[in-house]
């Protein structure tokens, strides 16, 4: 066994969420960690992964060191297979061409609802956040993967505002609201990989990252979260994975 490698929390996040993507899938990716993770997946186990950006790009090539600042700049389009209008690329979600939506999150609750609109009372918020963008559409129409930092203030019992729907109030409430397709699939943090119970739709820990304890997850989660008595552990990031990430983001814009 060699020495464990050094990596940042963001690098861990990118590696762990990238591993969830499957070869041949079509994935809507946000910029930052999701994009890094998706490109990492393409260059490791999922060469046939198709990336889509909500700005209108289908199947681009992301140039190392030229990561796009949003999904809407020309950097997103280099050597793409197709460019579409925003509305048309989002309609691919609705038509069912997209397997996975992959984004970051500011605040999430036990049923996987995401808030990126308001902290506090929406009518008189403590913080007005930037809003949904395509988040609501993507979360409504795909299997979602969310990558985010594991902090108590981000993992809350109930979000202040449901910007991007997860399982709403749990159980069958998502389907009953009219959202018959998609749903929250995985939440990946710097501590663990979470999924959702098939019945209750409550968040549960599927695996802890190397060296993380169940107590650490509980301490950093603002609600009661299910963790197996003998939890599984993820495999640590490999040198190859970290090397690809550092090649892609040499200035550590997203992986500092």
């Amino acid at each position: 066994m060699t020495e464990p490698l050094d990596y940042t929390a963001s690098e861990l996040l990118a590696v762990m969420s990238g591993r969830i993507l499957v070869d041949g899938q079509t994935a809507f990716a946000g910029v930052g960690i999701p994009l890094l993770a998706a490109v990492l997946a393409q260059r490791t186990h999922a060469a046939g992964l198709t990336i889509l950006f909500e700005g209108g790009t289908l199947g681009p090539f992301v140039v190392a060191g030229e990561l796009p600042p949003s999904t809407n700049e020309q950097r997103c389009t280099r050597r793409a297979n197709m460019l579409l209008s925003i509305t048309d690329v989002l309609l691919l979600l609705q038509r069912g061409y997209v397997d996975v939506g992959f984004m970051g999150g500011a605040q999430i609750d036990r049923h996987g609802n995401l808030n990126s609109s308001f902290i506090g009372d929406p009518a008189d918020p403590a913080v007005r956040l930037p809003g949904t963008g395509g988040g609501n559409d993507i979360a409504s129409l795909t299997q979602m993967i969310v990558a985010m930092k594991h902090e108590r203030r981000r993992f809350v019992e109930k979000v202040d505002f449901v910007t991007s729907p997860g399982y709403l109030d749990g159980g069958a409430s998502r389907e009953e609201s009219g959202l018959v397709a998609g749903g929250m699939y995985r939440v990946v943090t710097d501590l663990a990989v979470m999924g959702f119970d098939d019945e209750t739709r409550r968040m549960k820990v599927l695996a802890l990252h190397p060296g993380v304890t169940a107590q650490e997850v509980r301490d950093n989660t603002g609600f009661d979260i299910d963790i197996a008595a003998e939890p599984k552990f993820t495999e640590p990031p490999t040198g190859k994975e970290l090397g690809i990430l550092r090649h892609l983001d040499p200035d550590r814009l997203y992986t500092a």
């Binding site: 609501n136 559409d137 959202l179």
Partner: protein
């Protein structure tokens, strides 16, 4: 606050307004200042492009200089141009799906200051909902159905959204109402003097916006001949019949990007973001003074951005065609 709402026109009014426009093949070239005069206080102004891309920045710059007020603005995703519209007092209402300078610069302090104090309103719809609202407007229908927004608080806090059961399948869908802006501002790589426009790269929602609006101002990197347009009519994205003004403005999206011509002026955008950090409102007031009201003309604004930045942004912009 009903003056903070964007209202829907009855169909016959929408048609009558369109029919009253001179849609013939005629020259429409004018200056930024003349084009700004086509915008009336209180208009619903739709802004083309997305985030920092093909923003009609020169036209917005001209509207701020012309001291417009009460504009209802809408855009797919809003970046620094929205901060300037709020801070200048030109607009107190922006309908959009996401509003901040850009992810890498964090949450907009100006957006926060204006919305949290209720001096201005950020009306949030999902990205696709906004796209479909423009598309409904472009199609001449009063609504379009969609399958997102349900269950969320984004829909919950809107009163002009409607759920129905499909009469054919029994499935539940959400209906979103048409947006027919009074005027659309669109920046393109090239168009002719009549307004036949070609757009390279990402189209965003610009085609639907142009067709939905009751008036369209095109700013363009360059004006080309109508003969050039007619040589490849399948490349025309906006037809002359929908266009009311054509303004030639090189670097008309600066400091944002124009696909294939220049990338964002990142140094300026970084500096701008930093300028807002200590005191956002004082910072943007000083920015408005120096960069918007101060310059004699658009060339002087570009001079303030600096030749080195302009060359670098252009080099990066053209590089999309290097492969």
């Amino acid at each position: 606050m009903s003056d903070r709402e964007i209202t829907q026109k009855p169909y016959l009014k929408l048609r009558a307004d369109t029919q009253a426009r001179d849609r013939s093949l005629r020259e429409k070239v004018m200056s930024l200042e003349e084009a700004a005069a086509l915008v009336s206080d209180g208009d619903h102004v739709a802004i083309g492009g997305c985030t920092m891309s093909r923003t009609p920045f020169a036209m917005i710059w001209a509207l701020i200089r012309a001291r417009k007020s009460g504009l209802h603005c809408s855009r797919s995703i809003t970046s620094s141009e929205g901060e300037l519209l709020f801070a200048s007092g030109v607009s107190e209402h922006i309908l959009t799906s996401w509003f901040s300078q850009g992810i890498v610069w964090g949450i907009s302090r100006i957006m926060r200051a204006y919305t949290e104090s209720k001096r201005a309103r950020f009306e949030e719809w999902s990205h696709m909902a906004i796209g479909l609202r423009y598309r409904a407007g472009a199609m001449g229908v009063p609504f379009l159905p969609m399958r997102a927004m349900m269950g969320s608080d984004v829909a919950g806090q809107l009163d002009n959204i409607h759920e129905m059961e499909c009469p054919f399948t029994g499935e539940r869908v959400v209906l979103v109402p048409a947006l027919n802006p009074d005027i659309a501002l669109i920046h393109v790589q090239r168009c002719d003097a009549y307004g036949n426009a070609q757009i390279d790269g990402l189209e965003f929602m610009d085609i639907d916006i142009a067709m939905a609006a009751n008036r369209v101002i095109l700013t363009t990197e360059r004006i080309v001949s109508n003969d050039q347009i007619r040589r490849a009519p399948d490349q025309t994205k906006i037809p002359f019949i929908a266009v009311d003004a054509v303004v030639e403005v090189p670097y008309g999206s600066a400091p944002h990007e124009c696909y294939g011509v220049y990338e964002p002026f990142f140094d300026h955008m970084d500096w701008y973001a930093g300028r807002m950090k200590p005191e956002a409102e004082a910072g943007i007031a000083a920015y408005l003074e120096k960069y918007i009201y101060g310059p004699a003309d658009w060339a002087e604004f570009l001079s303030l951005l600096g030749m080195a930045d302009l060359l670098d942004a252009s080099r990066r912009g053209r590089s999309i065609y290097n492969d």
